[in-house]
């Protein structure tokens, strides 16, 4: 397999607005291969990692991510995930994965009821997932958030199960939005679908303040290359 570039598919819904940033971080900074996937596509064009970027898909009318889950590409993504393919949802992408049932739980409005954009500190709780294998457990990361619906919630038994299985992958050091158990990022039970509210693509170059997010894309690439 050598150093062959890993193919990332960046999904674009009407209203997605972090697609270009995510593409830039994967292609120009991480040096992997990236292509856009249109919401009406039904074919993933050979992508080895699917990334659902942030934004306001379909204007986020109704509920964040609620309409996007009905888009044609979602069927293909579900099949891909069931077959073990890597899927990463960032911010609105995370909300879409929740709405689509690929991840457990739901997003509520931030506890302060306002949009929050700022750098936050995160702790890596699990460094054995395909998306965090280049991090170290307990490591602190500085990555920005930008959302109004980022207050993660799940039923107590679901949370207990996720805690037990170390599926809360990233936690906030200072909870900005009211998320249960300070949850910032989670992974599914198969360990191949991850969602997080912080924006790793915004923390991939030192000129914009942090490089702590870059290893998330590099981890996924390494995982694909070595599997």
């Amino acid at each position: 397999m050598g150093n062959r570039k890993v193919k990332f598919g960046v999904v674009v819904y009407p209203g997605t607005n972090c697609d270009r940033d995510t593409y830039h971080a994967i292609k120009e900074v991480a040096g992997e291969d990236a292509r856009y996937l249109w919401h009406r596509d039904t074919d993933l064009k050979g992508s080895q990692v699917i990334v659902l970027p942030g934004g306001f898909s379909y204007g986020d009318y109704l509920r964040s991510g609620a309409i996007a889950r009905f888009s044609p590409i979602m069927e293909a993504i579900k099949d891909f995930a069931e077959a073990g393919g890597l899927v990463l949802g960032i911010c609105n992408g995370f909300q879409i994965l929740l709405e689509a049932g690929l991840l457990p739980g739901a997003m509520l409005r931030n506890k302060g009821l306002r949009f929050i954009c700022r750098f936050v500190d995160l702790v890596v709780e699990n460094d054995e997932t395909p998306f965090t294998l280049l991090y170290k457990k307990g490591e602190r990361l500085r990555i920005p958030i930008a959302h109004i619906d980022g207050n993660f919630f799940a039923e107590p038994e679901v949370i207990a199960e996720m805690e037990r299985d170390r599926r809360i992958v990233l936690r906030y050091v200072h909870n900005p939005n009211g998320s249960i158990h300070d949850t910032a990022g989670i992974i599914n039970s198969m360990g191949n679908v991850m969602g997080l509210m912080p924006h790793p693509e915004r923390a991939s170059e030192s000129i914009v303040g942090s490089t702590d997010g870059l290893r998330m894309f590099l981890s996924a690439a390494k995982y694909v290359r070595e599997s």
Binding site: R20, G112, C117
Partner: protein
């Protein structure tokens, strides 16, 4: 059929009506009267301001496009930087959320209409004092409106300013600036090409909202302004995002000749302006215009200001391809007319011609007024009580936790200020700095207004504001490439208001000519007046600067323990119209500082030189607020303390809180001297307290963390508890 009452409703004077009859050679019908009413409104025609604005310099070595288009364009790092500021004051008072949101939507369209992808938004906001709950509600609505529109668009709101003065209680100011980037050879203009081309309407359907919005912005508010709610448009950022992507795609494939967004006066202004500029006419078929409501009349269709609409002139035979692209983005695009040889503006509805007027009479021939004006009185007040010594530490705490200086974090965290990942300096300190991906250069952006200066001395206030904007740019090593401006005033039909305006333009001209920086466009907002009470003259200067090499950019994270703090420039005996007076004495007037532009330019170029030689860890300017509050803010970002040993040759208040313009502070690990500018080593970065000795006597000793907390908490406590 057309009587005085109808003319009054259309905000047209008897003389203007006579002129319309002369142009047409007959009485206009009601639709035509409506067309003239909006196109000749102050908002669309600049009839009171034009003869004065033409005095401003509009040439410069970086200039690509000056005033007269949707936005101005300068060159930076081989790219075209497209930028403009617009006011949305009147709608934001009537309906703060939608008023501000659609203000953002409108300026974004101005930028992407030129073929540029918007990369940044900045806002200059002015409200009445926050002790009044109504002003708090307006501010909260405006801030949410900006966030509610800007965030979904994926355009970062990277900076701006917020200020408070009593007069803004009934006339808040919402001035929004947008900056975009385009390829130099891919700029689009409002042109119609030749006769026989299709006009394509794309975007949201037309509704009854905003009819006569432009006319509303051209009259004073009375006590019945609440009734104007129907005039405020409602924004849909999702639609605009799709419109943005589709429009840029149509441009990239080179399918259109020209384009204009349907903003003020909607379909009428966009079609007539494009045609008039290209020496052709237009014929609109109103039956093809997509409508949101039933039973709309031609009058309403032509004058609607519904948001998120674009009008394009298609290249011959490209209509189908254009429609396909818009459809891909889920947007309806329809042919609604064509360009014609005859230079007329014609509208056809249900087989009948409902309007037929010379196209130039709408777009170019609006009356120009040289309105009478009187020279404003200048406030020269200086009270000796203002100069007395005080507990400067206590004053510092008060000043930095006042609404004038408290941290704006509560506001800018509601804005996505990082999307597009170009934001190099986070908001809250100095100008905004953006990288241009793939280049070593960066651009610096600022928007500055100071109504206190304008109120006390309009002309000098304008000079100072231009100088301040450029000084802000200098603090990051950027030289100005061009400016845009928004001039906010009361009723120009009053000679004293017109006098403020004329003096302000003179002041801008003086400063811009001195710095040799062009105006690339802008906006005038008159009639910011309620029940006879006008706002103070408020000039927003939006400046774009170039940083040749971002690798030497100063920033708070570069500062280290033991670094030296230097004061550069000239400290005068200035305290009038300062934040100090407002906070300590509740006094909003007083003599405005004088400025020597030669000294100012020396200071700026010296600081820029030191930054480019990589001698500077961090730099900032001192007005408004003065040395001590601005140094405190810098320390909050640096997260360290400082010890100052100063030997003021003037009263301490001038040195610590005075707002003499030509002064800056730089922090550096090096010994720095200057042959051009007075420079004093006033202290060093040390510990976690801000301690000041004046002639050896300790006058301030405050913990930086505790100061920072009061500074940061102000807006959170006000709005969230």
């Amino acid at each position: 059929m057309i009587d005085r009452k109808l003319l009054e409703e259309h905000n047209l004077t008897e003389e203007e009506y006579m002129k319309i009859k002369e142009i047409l050679g007959r009485e206009p019908n009601l639709v035509e009267l409506g067309l003239f009413s909006v196109m000749w409104s102050e908002h669309c025609s600049y009839k009171s301001s034009r003869i004065h604005l033409s005095k401003l310099p509009t040439r410069g070595k970086y200039l690509i496009q000056g005033p007269g288009e949707n936005a101005g364009v300068v060159e930076a790092a081989g790219k075209a930087v497209v930028f403009k500021v617009e006011s949305h004051n009147h709608p934001s008072f009537v309906e703060p959320y939608q008023g501000a949101a659609t203000g953002v939507g409108g300026i974004l369209r101005d930028i992407f209409t030129m073929g540029a992808r918007p990369i940044a938004l900045l806002d200059s906001l002015h409200f009445g004092p926050l002790s009044n709950p109504r002003n708090r509600a307006i501010m909260e609505g405006v801030v949410s409106g900006i966030a509610g529109y800007g965030n979904p668009m994926g355009v970062p709101t990277v900076g701006g300013e917020i200020d408070f003065e009593e007069e803004f209680s009934h006339n808040p100011l919402v001035n929004v600036m947008c900056v975009g980037i385009a390829e130099r050879d891919r700029i689009f203009y409002a042109r119609a090409g030749e006769p026989g081309l299709s006009l394509i309407y794309a975007g949201a359907p037309t509704g009854r909202d905003g009819i006569h919005g432009a006319t509303m912005a051209s009259a004073e508010f009375g006590s019945e302004t609440e009734h104007k709610k129907v005039n405020v448009q409602v924004g849909d950022p999702f639609k605009e995002k799709l419109l943005l992507e589709a429009t840029l795609e149509v441009m990239e494939k080179n399918l259109i000749v020209g384009i204009q967004d349907m903003g003020a006066a909607g379909l009428t202004s966009s079609s007539s302006e494009m045609a008039s500029k290209s020496g052709v006419g237009v014929e609109l078929n109103l039956d093809n215009v997509p409508l949101r409501e039933e039973g709309m009349t031609p009058y309403e269709i032509l004058l609607s200001e519904s948001q998120e609409r674009m009008l394009m002139v298609a290249r011959k035979g490209k209509e189908g391809e254009i429609k396909d692209i818009f459809e891909k983005w889920g947007i309806e695009a329809r042919v609604v007319g064509r360009t014609i040889k005859e230079k007329r503006f014609k509208a056809v509805w249900k087989g009948k011609v409902v309007a037929d007027v010379p196209v130039d009479s709408l777009a170019g021939a609006a009356p120009k007024y040289d309105r009478p004006y009187t020279k404003p009185t200048i406030d020269e007040k200086l009270d000796t009580e203002w100069l007395e010594k005080r507990d400067w530490g206590e004053v510092l705490r008060k000043v930095i936790s006042s609404e004038y200086m408290a941290s704006r974090k509560w506001v800018y965290e509601q804005y996505d200020h990082m999307v597009q990942i170009n934001t190099v300096l986070l908001p809250g300190l100095g100008p905004s700095v953006l990288r241009i991906k793939g280049k070593k250069e960066g651009i610096a952006l600022t928007i500055d207004t100071n109504p206190s200066w304008g109120r006390s001395n309009p002309r000098l206030g304008a000079v100072l504001t231009v100088a301040e904007a450029f000084r802000n740019l200098a603090s990051v090593g950027a030289e100005p490439l061009g400016i845009t401006n928004c001039l906010n005033f009361g009723n120009p039909e009053k000679p004293e208001i017109m006098g403020q305006f004329v003096e302000t333009v003179e002041g801008m001209k003086e400063a811009l000519e001195f710095f040799d920086v062009p105006v690339t466009g802008g906006n005038v907002s008159f009639y910011n007046e309620t029940e006879g009470k006008a706002i103070p003259p408020s000039v927003a200067i939006g400046a774009v600067g170039l940083i040749p090499d971002l690798s030497v950019l100063p920033g708070p994270e570069r500062v280290e323990e033991g670094d030296w703090i230097y004061l550069l420039g000239w400290t005068g005996e200035d305290i009038g119209s300062s934040i100090y007076l407002k906070v300590v004495f509740g006094e909003s007037g007083g003599k405005v500082p004088e400025i020597d532009l030669r000294q100012e330019k020396e200071l700026q170029s010296e600081v820029i030189k030191l930054i480019r030689e990589n001698q500077v860890s961090f730099a900032f300017d001192l007005a408004p607020g003065g040395l001590l509050p601005n140094l405190a803010e810098a320390l909050f970002a640096i997260n360290r303390g400082a010890v100052l040993r100063i030997k003021p040759q003037v009263e301490e208040v001038f040195y610590l809180y005075g707002e003499s313009p030509s002064r800056m502070v730089i922090i550096s690990p090096y010994e720095i001297t200057s042959t051009r500018v007075p420079i004093e080593k006033i202290g060093r970065i040390e510990g976690d307290r801000l301690t000041v000795f004046s002639h050896g006597r300790k006058i301030v000793d405050e913990g930086v963390d505790s100061l920072k907390k009061t500074w940061e908490d102000f807006f959170h406590i006000l709005f969230d508890r």
